[in-house]
């Protein structure tokens, strides 16, 4: 039995740009998942995951009304929409990327899956 699961089993996400910064919004499918993400999806864990993009700072904000965490990743877009040399100059795919992050499998994972 694997002891990790991809984040995408218990959450959905969307990302976008603000100048050279990206925001990655992660939304738990259930209340149990939101509570769990609060513990495992820390600023330092997200910063570590996106380390290859060299974020200057990662800040986490809470949206309990929608079971969401919003992560602001500073200076990760290689100059932003018009200056970035990357195909994804606006960080559109970072939301999909974070759903591939492996997190420890919680014992009550069944309560966190997409209904």
């Amino acid at each position: 039995m694997p002891n990790t699961i991809p984040l995408g089993e218990i959450a959905h996400a969307r990302s976008g740009d603000k100048g050279n910064h990206a925001n990655v919004g992660v939304i738990a499918w259930t209340d149990a998942g939101y509570e769990y993400l609060g513990r495992v999806l820390t600023e330092s864990r997200v910063a570590e995951f996106f380390l290859p993009l060299r974020p200057k700072q990662v800040q986490r904000y809470e949206l309990p009304g929608i079971r969401g965490y919003n992560f602001m990743l500073s200076d990760v877009l290689g100059g932003g929409a018009s200056r970035s040399l990357r195909i994804d100059s606006q960080g559109k795919t970072l939301g999909v990327a974070i759903l591939g992050m492996e997190v420890p499998a919680p014992p009550n994972v069944a309560e966190m899956l997409r209904p």
């Binding site: 959905h12 919004g25 939304i27 904000y61 949206l63 932003g80 929409a81 200056r83 939301g95």
Partner: protein
């Protein structure tokens, strides 16, 4: 039960689906159709177009879309249109739209141009008055970049739109206004809320944020992509709002996509920073306690937004000229495609150096091997990859030379190279982003409302 206003958004950016506004107006039973066209840097492109032709500088989709809306404007007397597609030239856009209206027998229809957002011609005066225009994020002073500026536009609020509607406008064409203000303006006009009724302003601004990106609220881009399919005939979003500020998001019945708390939540969180301070020129909105509740098929109630007074400054979006970029692609097929693609990319850049050009910034991507988000996914070696090389340099000649080096790889590169047909890549001028702020009392919306027939005089 108080009156419910229906506001639909048929465009989320310049280049969005051209049929969406018409389909939404046909089926949406709308009071207002909004059309949002201005991304962070769109105005700098429009400024460039206006510099070459004084009657250009607005979003060219606007007359195309308005033309498709003429039958609805004739058949639905309540329908009004509010768009920021006036870009750098709202009055020229008003004239272009007016000529379509007049030709369709709608010459009496009142058209508004809302401007005042363009502060580029006023920068001397504003700097003399103490506005530093430093970079919003880094605090860096504008300094020498001042001479490179291509555009400088204030994000205006809902006030100008409200005023235009108050003067009987049926079509409102603005320059830069905050996206959420496109929705708040009509609501303020219809319900007569005072502009310091913060909870209601917050509710309508959240509604505006939820519909500003079109189908992103109705199943487009949804993570659980299997759950919102099909999307071919996706319905664009509609806000229902009443005089108390109760908000429901929905879409025309019989369309594709989905409106659920999950599809709407993804749009709520899209491109926001601190959810407790979603700043618009109208109100400082707190999204953090917003709740989404399914109240029927494709109907989601939005509650819990809180609001406090807007900040004393307006956000300003400026763009400065920053050299040239170009990008080109080739396809490499066969074993070790990724490795060979990278070698082709390096070879190409070596030949640009041999020609005497040292490019300031270069990037080689082997798409297909897991490099879209570099360093995140484990790299794989697929049977074929797309080689994409992108460069940025102050010299147009250097970038031009770079674009010539793709085709030679077909004979002087590695085996398995193809995909070189089609036009050669072209350098484009880079317009870089410089966000800043200025004090609110420095700018005021300029509202001009006339019947279409008079705009043509």
């Amino acid at each position: 039960m108080s009156r419910v206003l229906r506001i639909g958004n048929g465009a989320g950016f310049w280049g969005d689906n051209l049929d969406a506004p018409r389909l939404l107006a046909e089926a949406g039973r709308l009071d207002y159709l909004t059309l949002e066209y201005l991304a962070e840097l769109t105005l700098s492109i429009l400024a460039h177009l206006k510099s070459r032709n004084p009657e250009a500088g607005f979003v060219t989709d606007v007359p195309v879309v308005l033309s498709s809306l003429l039958p609805m404007l004739q058949a639905q007397p309540q329908l009004k249109v509010v768009t920021n597609g006036g870009g750098m030239n709202p009055t020229a856009c008003a004239r272009a739209v007016s000529s379509l209206l007049a030709a369709a027998g709608l010459g009496d229809c009142r058209v508004a141009a809302v401007s005042g957002d363009d502060i580029l011609p006023r920068l001397d005066e504003l700097q003399a008055a103490g506005e530093c225009l430093q970079h919003f994020d880094t605090g860096q002073p504008l300094g020498d970049l001042r001479g490179q500026l291509a555009s400088a536009n204030v994000y205006l609020g809902a006030g100008g739109i409200r005023e235009a509607l108050g003067q009987g406008a049926r079509i409102v064409i603005t320059g830069r206004v905050a996206d959420a203000s496109l929705t708040l303006g009509p609501v303020l006009h219809e319900f007569g809320w005072s502009d310091n009724d913060w909870p209601k302003l917050a509710a309508a601004s959240v509604a505006g944020h939820l519909i500003e990106c079109g189908a992103q609220a109705t199943g487009g881009m949804y993570s659980a992509w299997d759950a919102s399919q099909p999307l071919g005939n996706v319905g664009y979003p509609i806000v229902e709002i009443d005089a108390e500020g109760h908000v429901t998001i929905t879409k025309p019945s019989g369309t594709d996509g989905a409106v659920t708390p999950d599809t709407v939540a993804e749009q709520l969180i899209y491109e926001i920073g601190d959810p407790q301070h979603y700043l618009t020129p109208d109100v400082d909105v707190d999204f953090s306690q917003v709740r989404l509740t399914q109240t029927g098929p494709d109907r989601v109630e939005v509650s819990g937004a809180a609001g406090t007074p807007a900040p004393p400054t307006y956000k300003v979006s400026m763009a400065y000229r920053d050299g040239y970029m170009a990008t080109g692609t080739l396809v490499i097929y066969g074993p070790n495609a990724t490795q060979r693609a990278r070698q082709c990319g390096e070879m190409l850049l070596q030949r640009v150096r041999r020609a005497g050009h040292v490019l300031a910034r270069t990037n080689i991507e082997c798409l297909g091997s897991g490099q879209v988000v570099p360093g995140i996914a484990p790299l794989v070696d697929p049977p074929e990859v797309v080689l994409r090389v992108t460069v940025h340099d102050p010299s147009k000649a250097a970038v031009e030379r770079f674009t010539r080096e793709f085709a030679p790889l077909v004979t002087s590169g590695l085996s398995g190279v193809t995909g070189y047909t089609g036009p050669r890549a072209k350098p484009w001028p880079v317009l870089a982003y410089w966000p800043t702020t200025i004090h609110r009392d420095r700018v005021q919306a300029v509202v001009d409302v006339k019947p279409a027939s008079e705009w043509l005089k």
